[in-house]
């Protein structure tokens, strides 16, 4: 049963456990690959994870002159292959969300690979395993659909890839505002 990374941005508390966990993935050389962003730090404590969305037609891979960014059969857009990456940093500019990071010492791009050694066997990536708030979840399409129904979300307004993002993505994003459609119990 295929599972996807699903983000419910409203839930984030900014603990950055996702980043700590990212360093723990076997293939990640103890470097974290995503971002958590303080939305308006002088005003309130709202935060949001900024994760690679694993685009269906990824700009990062398209921009790479050396074909260093491979797409796994699960749809995960992998980190640059060490032997192929020429360190041109095209991908960091091409990605609409600024995801790929660059290691100047190794002259190498590195990015989220959805913990491919886990996710290829259906084991949730580290970030979605630990996220204490369910901002990051690892769900089947049926479960994501159920979420859509639960929150009374019409025409993909809240559970979305399109039209709010640049292109179709494997990761599903639920923008802040999720609770607006919830009817109170009393």
């Amino acid at each position: 049963m295929k599972k996807r990374l699903y983000l419910e941005l409203e839930n984030c508390i900014g603990c950055r456990s996702c980043l700590a966990a990212c360093t723990q993935c076997g293939g990640h050389e103890e470097r974290n690959r995503n971002y958590v962003y303080d939305v308006n730090p002088l005003v309130n404590r709202q935060t949001m994870p900024l994760m690679c969305l694993h685009c269906v037609n990824p700009a990062c891979a398209r921009s790479c002159p050396a074909q260093a960014i491979q797409i796994h059969e699960t749809g995960a857009v992998l980190s640059a292959l060490v032997e192929k990456c020429i360190g041109c940093q095209n991908c960091t500019i091409a990605c609409p969300y600024g995801i790929p990071k660059f290691d100047t010492e190794q002259n190498l791009m590195y990015k989220c690979d959805l913990c491919i050694d886990r996710s290829k066997d259906g084991i949730p990536p580290m970030c979605a395993s630990v996220c204490p708030t369910n901002t990051l979840q690892w769900l089947t399409d049926e479960e994501i659909e159920a979420k859509q129904k639960q929150f009374n979300l019409d025409n993909g307004k809240w559970v979305t890839s399109m039209p709010y993002l640049e292109g179709e993505t494997n990761v599903r994003v639920n923008l802040p505002g999720i609770l607006q459609g919830v009817t109170k119990l009393f």
């Binding site: 456990s17 700590a20 730090p41 005003v43 404590r45 369910n134 109170k184 119990l185």
Partner: protein, 729 residues
Amino acid sequence: MQMDNFRNERDQYFKEIDNLNHPNETLVKTHCSYCAMQCGMNLRVKTKTNKIIGVEPRYDWPVTLGKMCPKGVTAYQQVNNKDRLLKPLIRDDQSLKGTTNGFREASWDEAYDLIVKKFTELQENYGKDSLSVYSGVSMTNEKCYLTGKFARVGLQTRYIDYNGRFCMASAAGGLNRSLGIDRGSTIPWTDIQDTDCIFLAGSNTAECHPTMMFRVWAIQERGGYVIVADPRETPVARRADLHLDLRPGTDLALANGIVNLLIQKGHIDEEFIKNHSNGFEDTKELVKQFTPEYTSAITGVAPEKIIRAAEIYGKAPNAIVMFARGIEQQIKGVDNVSGYTNMALVTGKIGRAKSGVATITGQGNGQGGREHGQKADALPGYRKIANPDHVKYISKVWGIEPEEMPKEGVSAFEMFGLMEQKTIRALYLLCSNPAVSAPDQNYVREQLKNLDFMVCVDFFLSESAEFADVVLPTTTWAEDEGTTTNVEGRIIKINQAQMPLGESKPDWQIQVELTERMGRGKYFSHLKTSEDIFNELRVASKGGTADYYGVTWEKIDKQDGVFWPCKDENDPGTPRLFLDKKFNHPDGRAKIFALPYRPSAEEPDEEYPLRLTTGRVVYHYLSGNQTRRIQFLRDMCPEPFVEVHPETAAKYNIDHEELVRLYTRRGETTYQVKITEAIRKDTVFVPYHWGHEKSINLLTIGALDPYSRMPEFKTCAAQIEKLKIKKVQ
């Protein structure tokens, strides 16, 4: 109940998920070393070298399902940390106390000999009670239990107390008084998501107990309500349906105001009040005064918000009241606990699933560690030294005469007073770091210096160890096994994943070896393993309020933990308290308390117009002795800061990231300013995880709650001064 197949509930979130097993690695199931959420985790151990190298989520732990905060994810990095103490240290030159200088490595024998010589000399010259033990509850039940026995039977001193006085003492006092029992939660955590309203008072839940947040948010996703009372708009308050932004130190007025409205608007449960409680009429009379306007004048919360909070809580079919250090670390902490508990009692929202009262315990074993006799007035099983029958029972278990049982001692902070008077001349400190965590640090550090002799047991050279003559290296949590009792009152098992590093030894082993050298071995030598100690604890707790007699390590494993009380082999434990509406007072009734409001020990004035409140950040644990050494956590939050509202900052003409002098009547320090609208204008906030000159506890006040002896960390009067120098960018 049929025991054979009993297992504690798994809820809708539980999924069977495989773990990733790397070749040549073993996964060891255990729990986090830090807070009382005690998140399940697997430690990754290199099979050949027996070295802990990482963490893997523990999806099958029903409370946290693999979730961890960043402290938990990186907790394993304590074990083989470069700062670990690997050998005993001795410092001969007492003039170097309070610094890291002058320590030399020594053998265990030399260290033990010196301790025995000093302790014996002091006791011969100044009496048995010239020694003291200051302990903590970030360690297993086995260790907490043994430490009480170590002090009273091994060292034969009355002076033992522990850092729970800065943590859970007010909750314990309030819950005992209101409900007759101090089990932090009346319900399991797997009930939270299914309640209709959660009222969180003085809990920065998202930062201090992050892994319960998915349950809190789920309440809202079902259409239920989250209400938060906090001077700051914390991450949980940000998304709450209602944020009651009260002045620090005014919780009791808010609680009284809400209880008044619950009564006035008819949300009370008359049947429950009549049959299962005492004290309603007096309370009704007292809270009358707390109209929304009067309550608003004291708390600073708008009257409409108070009315709305009472309406939501009152109408909710099921509701949970939860609180934490925010309401407890005040000179009226015990009253605050009883005050908020009154909300559940007048409405009868207690003693059933999805409704109840809970304190969100701080330290990993803050629950178990306070039940088994580390507290100045307590003996195992929540027994009391003041009760001759209790003394008789425990004396028998310990093999001493009741007359030999030392009398009650004094609370942790009061021990510093006795050090000042030279009543206490030596200190055996373990599992705690009062040179950061105690209030009024200038005073506390002076008293530590003033000691004739001090032993500190730790796995890192903490700020407190800097005052010691002898430092003994102990193990981290992952190098020993035993049990803890989590935030719910569920007894769980910590497993050993690695052999002790260097020459470090578990605390219990150190205590057994020391007592043997002090000629008290006959009371301790039979304790060869942690499980031996647990089995003695079971007997010692038998028949007490916190009865562990029916708990075995095997049962813990089989049932996913055991909730106390658990009285015998056939008892699966008690996940929910008071289902029969029988409370633990002798008449079986709960007590609704009439609690007159009183101000804080130090209210703001012209000279010190701001309220200083202290607390935590998600990246650090307690005094920071453990978490400040971990790269990821240090990178995320390297330094303390002072949070100031932009309007307040404008008044002082200070900017974001500017350095300012913050001072109170007791001390001063400099911090970088963090401007945020998410705090009251009359309040400033500083997290407390740092030592030396950065410690906010240089400024806090040592005023104590009269019942719990808990210091008032949560409010005192302060002032800010703009400095001439700006921060060099």
